[in-house]
């Protein structure tokens, strides 16, 4: 297990995002080819209404931006998304740390996330047990004629209780 940390996401991270995107686009396939994100798009990645958003740090380097959104405290679930450097071996552990933080912070039963099936990482990137609950065929446009499938995953609280404990001292 890699040693990772989480830190708050502030204004400096908004401006750092351009560098991350330059570095990561092409492997994460985000944003879609042909789009060059400007300042507004970069700022849009910092979600004003996200209940938790953290930068993952490993080896003194920022390797991912994790976001919890669409928190539904009636039905007790939320959505997880991330932008990560897929070349970093610690990215999955960083996302796992974020999952642990989210489950400790809110009484949700599970988190859901979506991953393009032609992406570099897939659901396997997350270092916690996941359930693939569906696939949306031909859902994301890649170019004029090609569309990527999108896989839907769940991370369920009952499956990650041990992971949550293991990460207890590492998340900060």
């Amino acid at each position: 297990m890699n040693d990772v940390g989480l830190r708050d996401c502030g204004e400096a991270e908004v401006w750092a995002l351009q560098g991350w995107l330059d570095q990561w686009v092409g492997t994460t396939r985000w944003p879609p080819p042909g789009l060059t994100p400007g300042p507004a798009a970069r700022a849009g990645l910092i979600w004003a209404d996200a209940p938790i958003q953290k930068v993952v740090v490993a080896g003194g380097r920022d390797i991912a931006l994790c976001t919890l959104h669409d928190l539904d405290l009636f039905n007790l679930h939320a959505t997880l998304s991330w932008l990560a450097d897929p070349t970093s071996p610690a990215a999955g552990d960083g996302i796992a740390a974020f999952v642990a933080l989210a489950l400790r912070s809110f009484p949700v039963r599970k988190l859901t996330f979506e991953v393009a099936s032609d992406g570099a990482e897939g659901g396997a990137l997350v270092s916690v047990p996941v359930h693939r609950v569906g696939r949306r065929p031909a859902h994301l446009r890649r170019d004029a004629t090609r569309f990527a499938d999108v896989d839907i995953y769940e991370v369920r609280r009952g499956d990650v209780a041990g992971v949550e404990t293991a990460w207890e001292g590492r998340v900060g």
């Binding site: 039905n75 599970k110 696939r135 949306r136 065929p137 031909a138 859902h139 839907i152 369920r156």
Partner: protein, 197 residues
């Protein structure tokens, strides 16, 4: 058929249901509809917003939405919405709400057929998505299965009057939409609605 009953060349009126703009009158009727019934069952869960708050929520949530109106007495019976649109990928989620007294009636779903046809043949969306709680799948999806693709099931995802239920999600590709059949079942086959399928 009058111009007011067409949008993007597609019919807005069926045999018993019509899609009408959400003006202040329709909003007020919809607000009353949302406030009635069992608060455990209704999606707003008893937390009824004011009329102004409802208007703000609806306009913030959707760029294409209509009131479902019973043609017989011009009464607002529900709402259809396009949600979470992705113009690059040509996708949009479809939401429908119907007043409690008509939950088990089939005829308001004619408005859904009109709306699906409008989104595909009128607005040109490539793919529509719909989410349905487990208890509603047989009734809601049963007759539409030839068009819908089962994409998966979110486990224990929604608290309803039936408990904590799975939610099934379906899709409808424009390529699979039978516009001629949609016009036929809504009584528009001979009305000469414009547009192409």
């Amino acid at each position: 058929m009058t111009g007011a009953e067409l949008a993007f060349g597609q019919p807005l009126a069926g045999r018993r249901v019509a899609l009408r703009p959400l003006d202040r009158r329709r909003l007020a009727e919809l607000h009353a509809l949302l406030g009635a019934g069992d608060p455990r069952a209704w999606p707003l869960r008893g937390a009824l917003p004011s009329l102004d708050e409802l208007e703000e929520q609806l306009w913030g949530a959707s760029r294409v939405q209509y009131a479902l109106v019973a043609r017989g007495d011009d009464r607002t019976v529900g709402l259809v919405q396009g949600l979470d649109e992705d113009l690059r990928s040509g996708t949009v989620a479809v939401g429908i709400a119907v007043g409690e007294e008509l939950w088990r009636a089939g005829w308001p779903l004619e408005g859904l057929v009109l709306f699906l046809n409008l989104l595909i043949a009128g607005h040109g969306y490539r793919k529509l998505t719909l989410e349905v709680p487990a208890h509603g799948v047989d009734r809601f999806v049963g007759s539409s299965h030839r068009w819908l693709e089962d994409e998966g099931h979110l486990a224990a995802h929604a608290v309803t009057e039936h408990g904590v239920e799975d939610v099934a999600f379906f899709s409808l590709f424009a390529r699979d939409w039978d516009r001629d059949l949609a016009l036929q079942v809504t009584g528009n086959a001979r009305a000469g609605a414009g547009g192409t399928s």
